[in-house]
Symmetry: C3
Subunit: 333 residues, 3 copies
């Protein structure tokens, strides 16, 4: 039998949210890393060539439910994730790859869009109460994070610190001449450079919709000063005529087996009133081992111009603020 | 790669049901043990501390479908389990734990409610035609067996035979002042004692609903006489103003590589007419190995006061009786 | 822990379809082999007896979604496979078996119907643009490929080349005297002979429906001439009063680490106008290893008598033709 790696994360937290309209208390999943279950493996084909696969499902380990996926990069293909019935899907990643040592990797299936990866120059990621507004408020919808039916190319290692990826994906509508026949088609490109303490990248992506294309363009980077690692992200997004602007400045300070995390983020659009949200997130992680950690995160978001972002399941009126606290454990395997 | 245990049960039976209105013949799953597929593992953190996870899904191996879960301990979070579409969910158990050798275990996620565990002082369990009425007729609904979004504490081993658990779980409704904001919140406590041939425990639990709380209080125990192990369960349940009373007396007689099982059980409520069901179940299990067994179970239920319990998919009129027969194989891995 | 085999296929292809009404371009799964994820294992019980299980799920690895199953061999038990929400089900196979070296195998659960197996005397199988019309146009509906709730018996090995299976399955309707109470009940028998270059089998099967039973009877075989392996299938189907006739002639020519495949197939019914489709499929597979292959398939279907078969998601008017091209990679594990 070939070697297959079974892997996952089970992360549970008490999540408290306070908003101007309603508060919330939850025992939910994924405060430090997204809970998941996956299978992956690779095969050496000789001559520097390898084949590999990666199947990774999201998991709501507070109830045991899975998470839905999206089959066509459009609203019509979005899983509704009906209460309690949602089974496991490999929505986080479902790919097969052919890799050449010299020429890079060809990867087919569902995974991140290139421009999303820049938003991960960030200490909190797309999970928990600390998730930056660059991620949680983004206006680009269905393909802001991942896309299905894609063909991606990744540059090989060993290019003097340069790395990069380009990806094209299909909405798979019938080519019948309808205005929406290209809906869900799209692609993106990302080029980066990592050397010593520096890692930075630029990326852009677009998905076609008859109702108005979505676009994401961003730059992100990190510098590791050893006493602290700092992060910076700047993004410009569009959904049809609506424009969004975002930034994040963040840092991580390691301290023994723990680490402190701080992030400031901002998202605004040019909708009527120029709604804008500002967020501060503060976190501490205590590592019990490489696989297991205890963590706590506190965050607060302030809204203006009609924005109403709220945290941890609470509900907040336009222009009011919301805060939240996570207390949890992350175990990976 | 850390050590992960993949485990499961595939149990299939021919299930015949006879009722006064309609009979049924099925090739279905789970006559001796519930069919399941799971992943679990643990990590030694040093100093007597360990982290662990447990993901366990129900499985209908007659069709390959999974089973739904419940996300919020209320009707709104119940999976509808649509025909043929129901994927795998880790509805049986989905937990992450931190365990201290001296102080016990803290466990977060979805699993049994404490008071359910007493109902397993029984040779048939919640599966097959022999399932006692203490389990199959219980009036407490959604959280009678398991609850999601919970925090549980288990006493450590080595307390001179005493064991115990307390658990609190959340309905996770928005705290907006609505009458139903506490729906699905609840908890339970169980204390037991096991020593030599004796094992017994008391438990109680409650779940809040604006339409009327549900409560379960019970005592259960077993005594192993070697030639036979006998079981006793007595329960008192409530759902709003409706009260239920139940008892079960049962025994298991080992005989070579086989075992005979007998159980009498009763469930009645104070609804109009005082509906009551009485059941007798008789079973035989032939172990082919530790993992594989052949089994047969026969049961009959008699109804009075308007009760209409029926067995194995048959349908029975009020106050009529129903019987059923299972013939199956259980293979665990 | 017992030995469990985790296995699967991740197959992705660019699939182009051309039809008279609409074309299609997709990045989809399963062009050479059906994508899947499975768990299987067996236990030696001594004395020539063994127990085993097999759980195998279909997988749409272009999006990570699973595939639905059918719980009762009727339309009412068919999973709707809602967009993006469909979780993993073990719809391909979900069985538990008891096997005796001398007497054969008893297998319970969901799997292929016996008569389907003859349709696999074919180089393309039920996957990709090359799938023969004997499979893709068959009129027998829900149980044409698999059935749930079944009990199967397989002859043991060592019968001088003869092999065979009989299977009975249940629709599990309530036996309430309704006209449809037998709907979904059915069974089939298959007897074959394999020796040296020859492998051939006959099979027949029937499923009961009040609206008209479905029947499949077919003969299939292959002869391995070493420079080429040739295949022949002839089938007669019924769904109520509607009759279908089909045939396929095909061949595979191995060439170094590659193989050429050619298949001609035909399906016609006695519906008004005697609709008929004819198909030619041509394929090439380049094996990179035992587990990994690149492949391409081209096919064309011609319709007459009102038939409108189309390929790879395209749409074709009655009596028009359609063609399709696959280009893909298959990786198994």
């Amino acid at each position: 039998q070939p070697s297959i790696t079974l892997f996952g994360v089970v992360d549970a937290r008490v999540a408290i949210g306070r908003g101007s309209l309603a508060d919330a208390v939850q025992l939910t999943s994924a405060g430090l890393n997204t809970s998941r279950l996956g299978f992956r493996g690779s095969e050496d084909l000789g001559g520097g060539l390898a084949a590999s696969f990666w199947l990774e499902a999201a998991l709501s380990n507070d109830s045991g439910a899975g998470g839905p996926t999206n089959t066509n990069n459009q609203a019509s293909g979005a899983g509704t994730g009906s209460s309690g019935s949602q089974g496991l899907t490999f929505a986080r990643r479902s790919t097969v790859s052919l890799t050449g040592r010299n020429w890079g990797e060809l990867r087919l299936g569902r995974e991140y869009v290139p421009q999303y990866l820049n938003l991960l120059f960030d200490p909190f990621g797309n999970v928990g109460v600390g998730v930056p507004l660059t991620l949680s408020s983004i206006i680009t919808g269905v393909t802001s994070t991942r896309a299905s039916n894609g063909v991606a190319y990744f540059l090989p290692a060993g290019l003097g610190g340069f790395y990069g990826t380009a990806r094209y994906y299909l909405g798979e509508n019938s080519r019948d001449g309808a205005a929406t026949e290209d809906d869900g088609n799209g692609g993106g490109v990302r080029i980066g450079y990592a050397s010593g303490p520096l890692d930075m990248a630029v990326a852009t992506g677009r998905t076609e919709y008859a109702s108005g294309d979505t676009r994401q363009t961003n730059i992100g980077g990190s510098w590791n000063f050893k006493v602290a690692k700092v992060f910076l992200v700047i993004g410009r997004d569009r959904r049809g005529a609506l424009r969004g602007r975002s930034w994040e400045v963040a840092g991580v300070v390691p301290l023994g087996r723990g680490e402190f995390k701080l992030a400031l983020s901002d998202y605004s659009t040019d909708a009527a009133g120029n709604p804008e949200s500002k967020k501060v997130a503060l976190g501490y992680v205590q590592h019990l081992s490489k696989r297991t950690a205890l963590y706590t995160t506190w965050a607060r978001v302030e809204n203006s111009g009609g924005a109403a972002a709220s945290l941890n399941g609470s509900s907040t009126a336009a222009n009011a603020s919301s805060s939240g606290l996570d207390l949890g454990i992350r175990h990976s395997f």
